[in-house]
């Protein structure tokens, strides 16, 4: 009786893709950026990443325990949120700030709106903006090699294009938040996710292309030294700040991005336009996090407009 036939109703072919699988893969994809952040900024960065991740998981566990809900810390979504928040923190920020951000991300942005799949904006970015508004000084103080200095984006904002080194920015030897500095490390993680089919190019692709077009055309209006489609300016804007981390890992969050294909393209274009607007004409040199959470809020509208018609219904008039 070894070859027992198993008779069951459909479905017979089951996908192995689950929430926890995907989240685990995203966590792995974030490791290069995390590792480079730790290499770049030292133990402070490692401690910050541990604190934000642990607090996020712990908050989720305690909340679900107290509310008598199913414990979902096994699905790694809290790990991803905590890790992303940690990568968005400056390495010099006090640890309690990271912990506070994690509690805000999980408790207020995620769980109070119904947990995984129900949050209306990216929890890590919601918490980052919460901290950015609350502690503007500490959240924008970047120390690199023992010196407090402006980020490359801040140089660009001041119109000092010549003082940024694109090669350093590509590798990540620049001041910034823990995970955003190294474009190469982020791209390695992104390629890993693309190869697994977890993310596709639609959102990050349209995001980056729109952004490049926008700053290529309008860069000259914010800075007189920058020409029309100035290659050095575009490279510096692309590699600086949180654009890469945001485009590949945060804009592509399943929960807060549109599910329709045309909607994802609209979403990417909105992201690119907003980021360009904030960076070139806004008060601050960085604008990725605000652009993403504002676009998150537009997602229900985008989905409503781009919902495909079911076959056979509502023919053309």
């Amino acid at each position: 009786m070894e070859n027992q036939l198993n008779i069951s109703s459909s479905p017979h072919i089951r996908s192995k893709v689950t929430s926890s699988n995907i989240m685990l893969m995203v966590t792995i994809a974030l490791l290069p950026a995390s590792a480079f952040g730790v290499y770049n900024f030292g133990m402070d960065a490692l401690l910050m990443l541990i604190v934000t991740t642990a607090t996020a998981v712990l908050t989720e566990f305690i909340y679900e325990k107290l509310m008598h809900k199913k414990i979902t810390i096994g699905d790694f979504s809290a790990v991803v949120t905590g890790l992303l928040l940690g990568l968005n923190m400056p390495p010099t920020a006090p640890l309690w700030m990271g912990a506070l951000g994690s509690v805000f991300a999980i408790l207020i942005v995620k769980q109070l709106f119904g947990g995984l799949g129900q949050n209306f904006m990216n929890p890590a970015l919601g918490a980052r903006c919460f901290l950015l508004i609350s502690f503007a000084g500490q959240m924008t103080k970047f120390v690199y090699d023992g010196e407090t200095g402006p980020t490359p984006l801040a140089y660009l904002k001041e119109g000092a294009l010549s003082s940024v080194n694109s090669m350093d920015m590509l590798i990540g030897r620049i001041p910034g938040t823990i995970g955003e500095t190294s474009v190469i490390a982020i791209i390695i993680g992104a390629i890993f996710l693309i190869m697994l089919g977890i993310i596709d190019l639609r959102i990050p692709g349209t995001y980056i292309v729109t952004f490049v077009l926008f700053i290529g055309i309008f860069g000259q209006f914010s800075d007189a030294n920058v020409g029309f489609f100035d290659p050095q300016f575009i490279t510096a804007e692309l590699c600086g700040g949180g654009l890469m981390l945001g485009a590949w890992f945060m804009a592509t969050d399943y929960v807060t991005s549109p599910i329709t294909k045309s909607g994802q393209i609209v979403y990417g274009i909105v992201l690119g336009l907003l980021t360009g607007l904030f960076r070139l004409f806004g008060g601050s040199s960085e604008g990725v996090s605000y652009a993403i959470i504002i676009s998150n809020l537009l997602v229900p509208l985008i989905e409503k407009v781009t919902l495909p018609k079911p076959f056979g219904k509502g023919g053309e008039k």
Partner: protein, 238 residues
């Protein structure tokens, strides 16, 4: 007098304009950056509310039904103008910090709402107490929101520093204010949090079958006089 006491309790607890009726949200969210602003706004609204409820109740048989809204607005606007000038004269700093929200009391939905739903249908004395109860309920709500926002957002209460601030340049440990709480998003967070806490307490009280009247912090001795929980019966009446 029984109905007067009941009106007070109704305004403070059963139909608290902020936490239960969710009325007057614009001033609630905008001016509660500190406890003092909350009290100032609450008390000036209470003054207008009591006076307008009284006058509208007196005039309730004279005002024709078809033009009652303009009539109410005229009455309310007159009292707001008086309060506006009095505050400008006697409490200039509070007047400055409340700004446009003093004249905007005219269109505060609590005042028009009480005029429409209570004062225009009931005798003078209960109307006065209805205004007083609603006004005090509004004040307690604003005070609670303002105090929480001021403590978390600045470490102060009524302008006094109660939490010693951290000073990184001198290496002094202490409290770092979470500035977002005295900015606009903080108002929403605190309002939602307090409303959730008070709902939780209310539900627990009802479950245990206890008197739900002692839940409002800052309600003070007034709670002793209000007995019984007649919220459902009262809502049915209106």
């Amino acid at each position: 007098m029984n109905s007067c006491g009941e009106r007070l309790k109704n305004g403070l607890i059963d139909e608290n304009p902020i936490f239960v009726l969710m009325l007057g949200m614009c001033p609630t969210l905008a001016v509660t950056t500190s406890a003092m602003n909350g009290i100032g706004m609450g008390l000036s609204t209470t003054a207008v509310l009591v006076m307008s409820n009284m006058l509208i109740s007196m005039l309730r048989k004279i005002i024709p039904d078809s033009v009652r809204m303009p009539a109410f607005i005229v009455v309310v606007a007159s009292f707001v103008t008086i309060v506006d000038f009095l505050m400008e004269g006697y409490t200039p700093s509070l007047y400055d910090s409340l700004g446009i929200y003093i004249p905007l009391i005219v269109v505060n939905c609590i005042i028009l709402g009480r005029a429409e739903s209570y004062a225009s249908k009931n005798p003078v004395l209960p109307s006065i107490f209805d205004g007083l109860g609603m006004g005090l309920g509004f004040t307690v709500g604003l005070l609670a929101i303002g105090a929480v926002r001021e403590i978390i957002g600045a470490g102060q209460i009524f302008g006094k520093q109660i939490l010693p601030l951290a000073d990184s340049t001198m290496g002094k440990a202490g409290y770092t204010p979470i500035t977002i709480f005295i900015l606009a998003p903080g108002a929403f967070l605190v309002l939602a949090g307090l409303a959730a806490i008070q709902n939780k307490v209310k539900i627990n009280m009802e479950k245990k079958g206890k008197d739900a009247s002692k839940i409002q912090s800052g309600c003070g001795s007034d709670c002793a006089t209000c007995a019984g929980c007649a919220s459902t019966a009262d809502k049915g009446k209106e």
